[in-house]
Symmetry: C2
Subunit: 415 residues, 2 copies
């Protein structure tokens, strides 16, 4: 008798994703905004699915995260995560793919005798769409959530985050107790759509994620002197917009010359901003991202130096103000190797990518050996009803998560 | 007995400018917006000054322009123009210098027997500050005002231009009758502040103006595709802002390589314009100016070609829409020579400049031999309370206008 290859019901995961889309979306997209009725309905549906699996214990932690564990013979467990919450008018796969693929992996692994347990976590409010604070549940579990920093956050109707939690039977001051859930966790795994164009362009279905980018975010303000478009000769101008334009191009050129980094000028505001005058002030934003802290620091130094040189050449002043920063969070090197092997086995070729957006895995990577899988996004779009991935790639991704979970269970058992 | 050099009381002109500033300005600047009570008060004060001069006839035409003539022995006359109206919070000299210098020249010339008359005109609503239509009175006199194009213009309170004229005892449908005033006019002269930095930088008080720039004004819209600042690699972006930034720099470089032209990117609007995405659309304005129509056409062709090349390189589309244009209006070559000689005689050195802003003289140049004098502006600023010119230069400019008027009267008599 030949040993049969263990399998996961990937078609069932795809069907569940479609069922959830029917239940909680409309023609504008997914409407599972955290701590709303639609989100609570999605959670209730999810609990019903988990209840079908024999031997799985289900619990909600004080931060609103939902945990479902198929226990092993020992206390330790491997956690697979996702988030069923979405942005308003969001995509059907962003977050939900991770949770529902994890559900099927849990269903497949639950009956097998193992030393380590297998746990699915559905994180609360990954998106932060309603209160502007993303990674709520995973940061509570990682111990990086400061209740005082979020207590007064309000939604557009003036409801506070604290009240919205209360309406869901949760108390903000107890959210930190979610940390207890990470005791005895051996590793964290997450499957997510790429939300970018790289895999589609490469003709590949799957990638292993190297970590999440560090971010340096600044407002850069150029000051010259505005004057009349007709009266002032070209060589006597102090045009703040042109100084900013040259600087934005220099920021881009620096990023193009490096591997796998980003530099984005997103907001651009000029004054006076009228057709008959050149501009005396121009304020832009610069968002820089890199996977290595040293590279990110180099990029920032280079951008400051370029802006100062250009401002001087244009007879302008420049001032920098930091508005946000986060350090790069690399994933576990050994788990990256395992994931790479799993992808090569299933898809023939793997790709290693940094993650541009943040994910709950970034919070977990602060505490645990962590790795993520990306599956191709069509058109590179996300956070819109147009978000999509071919069904065969969704099913392949579920199979990859199942294989990776088995490899990581074995890896953790030996440690 | 030696012939005494005829003189003008330039100190009286300076004193009158200061008196008008006291009467119709405040700490924010001049408030003589056309067709308002303050403007009407300034006009009443001006009529009082004109009434002091023996033998001068005063009349208002149906477009609201004020005419004061010291007649000659024949029907022909030389006109000196200015405008006492200002923008809100405007400068004390913009327009008023021309009118009050002309008043003193009229006072000086009125007693002298001459074949040609001398006429001062104070134009109505040169600035267009209230209704957005500049050169109202002079365009009515030149025959280029279309009543239907301005009838429905409103100020910020919803008052129509037609109603505002009515409140001043004027009827829009009769404004074209102002054309009768240009019958028998031999030449038109105007003194104005430069409103730019060239004379101050050159250390010169006075310039002769070659004409007013032609203008080509366009909206240029770049379309790429916006996406997330983290998810999209640098080499896969279609960043509309960067395409616009490169194009604006190309427009500037083209203008820098030519003599005495302008190219200005004034309005800049990006979408989505948020810190975490690069931009899918960027709409800029381009205002191009040159004194020669062929040069202006070359500049426009070069700008279009540059924007199309850059847009293609950046994976974007570009579309151009003309929002306004006016042809260059050159002043009279013989009068330019006379003015140059007058300035050299008074200041030692002259300068020939194009005018960036439009002036009433541009409307007159369509119909009559016309020339303008510029006097230095400190800091190149205008349309603000900070607008200024040294008193000795103001007085020198009044003397130059007087000498030029005498030269032009003699020139016109011989034609």
């Amino acid at each position: 008798m030949t040993a049969r290859e263990p399998t996961v019901d990937s078609a069932r995961a795809l069907a569940a994703l479609r069922e959830l889309r029917e239940l909680t979306g409309n023609e504008h997209g997914a409407q599972r905004v955290a701590f709303t009725e639609t989100w609570a309905a999605a959670r209730e549906w999810l609990v019903g699915r988990l209840d079908e699996i024999d031997g799985v214990s289900i619990a909600r932690d004080p931060a609103g995260n939902l945990w479902a564990t198929a226990p092993g013979s020992g206390p330790r467990t491997v956690v697979i995560g996702g988030h069923i919450d979405s942005v308003p008018d969001g995509g059907w796969l962003d977050g939900a793919l991770g949770t529902l693929a994890g559900l099927e992996v849990l269903r497949a692994l639950a009956p097998e005798p193992r030393q380590l347990g297998v746990t699915l976590v559905d994180w609360a409010d990954e998106e932060g769409a309603r209160f502007g604070r993303s990674l709520f549940g995973s940061s509570a579990a990682a111990g990086t959530l400061d209740p005082e920093a979020v207590r007064a956050l309000t939604d557009r109707d003036g409801t506070t985050l604290e009240q919205a939690l209360h309406d869901q039977g949760l108390e903000l001051d107890r959210a930190a107790e979610a940390r207890d859930r990470l005791r005895d966790v051996a590793a964290y795994l997450e499957l997510h759509i790429e939300q970018g164009p790289v895999l589609e362009a490469a003709g590949l279905p799957l990638a292993v994620v190297l970590g999440t980018f560090g971010v340096q975010r600044h407002v850069v303000r150029f000051t010259g002197a505005h004057a009349h478009a007709g009266a002032t000769p070209m060589d006597r101008r102090h045009d703040a917009f042109l100084a900013a334009a040259r600087s934005a191009l220099a920021f881009r050129d620096d990023a193009l010359a490096r591997d796998d980094v980003r530099a984005t000028t997103g907001s651009v505001r000029v004054a006076p901003g009228i057709v008959t005058a050149f501009n005396g002030t121009c304020q832009i934003t610069l968002d820089q991202r890199a996977l290595h802290a040293a590279v990110l620091a180099e990029m920032l130094d280079a951008a400051r130096a370029a802006s100062e040189r250009i401002a001087a050449e244009e007879g302008c002043e420049v001032a920098w103000e930091r508005v946000w920063e986060i350090e790069p969070i690399p994933f576990d090197a050994e788990l990256i190797e395992l994931a790479d092997e799993v992808i090569r086995g299933l898809a023939g070729e793997s790709r290693r990518l940094p993650s541009g957006p943040l994910h709950d895995a970034a919070e977990m990577a602060r505490r645990l050996p962590t790795v993520m899988l990306f599956v191709k996004s069509l058109g590179g779009v996300s956070h819109t009803a147009a978000e999509d991935t071919p069904p065969q790639d969704i099913e392949l991704a579920v199979r990859a998560l199942h294989k990776l979970a088995r490899r990581v269970l074995a890896w953790a058992q030996d440690r």
